[in-house]
């Protein structure tokens, strides 16, 4: 990987993190409640986009820049787990279990859907 690709990985990673923050913020503005909808929306949409890249057979440095850097930083595992654990700790066990099951189901479905769309484009 060239030095310029690493520069791209850095900058696009920063962009992905900011995009995630903005979307979680926008959803939190419109939706009260304790269910972490923001991270769910980010993770599902990022998985759809990564599926799309896979379907379009994007590879090499372009995949590193779009998939690894941008979408990798946009979606997140740690906040998903943190919010799940805190829901459980607050005895909202149903919401915690739902957050795990729905995220995984939506994530897998989103990748598969994105890939199908991408391979037909």
């Amino acid at each position: 990987m060239s030095a310029w690709t690493w520069v791209g990985v850095a900058l696009l990673g920063g962009v992905g993190a900011c995009a995630r923050f903005l979307i979680v913020w926008l959803i939190a503005m419109r939706h009260g409640g304790n269910f972490p909808l923001g991270v769910l929306a980010v993770n599902a949409s990022g998985s759809l986009a990564l599926g799309l890249l896979a379907g379009l057979a994007v590879s090499g440095d372009l995949l590193v820049l779009t998939g690894t850097a941008t979408l990798g930083s946009y979606t997140t595992f740690s906040t998903w787990m943190f919010e799940t654990q805190r829901l459980g700790e607050e005895r909202w066990v149903r919401a915690a279990v739902l957050n795990v099951v729905v995220s995984l189901a939506l994530g897998i479905a989103a990748v598969a859907l994105g890939r199908t769309i991408g391979s037909h484009a």
Partner: protein
Amino acid sequence: MPSHPRQGDRPTSDIETVKPQSTSSLDARELCAIFVGGIAGSLLRAWLARRFATGDGDWPWAIFAINVSGSFVLAGVATHLQGRSLRSTVLGPLLGVGFCGAYTTFSTMQLELVQMIDRNRYALAGSYALGSVLAGLLAIWAGTLLVRRTQMAL
């Protein structure tokens, strides 16, 4: 959805320390901190994923280790900031939202799961999904406990 909140010993939930507060407005300094944290997280994950790349039929150790270690750090940061807003200090946006958020990833993990299912590796897919969630939750719990114990000792 959540019906019976426990009236616990802690007055406020620190879920708000990660979830941006809906009442506050955005400010440029905060976005800059998230951007800088995101740069570091993205670089470290991309490097580790290349350095410890695994074959198609193997357990994806790189992403697994990244996700579990990032969860541990995030829990530590968020617990440390509990009671204070994540957005009142630079540490939350920089290390929490920016670095840990970008260092750990969900999309790559889901693509890996779909590729395992493609190859009929259902046991591998199941154990990777379940193993990541259980190890992730354990890491959150451990990071939280470590910081709470340390705070109590001080």
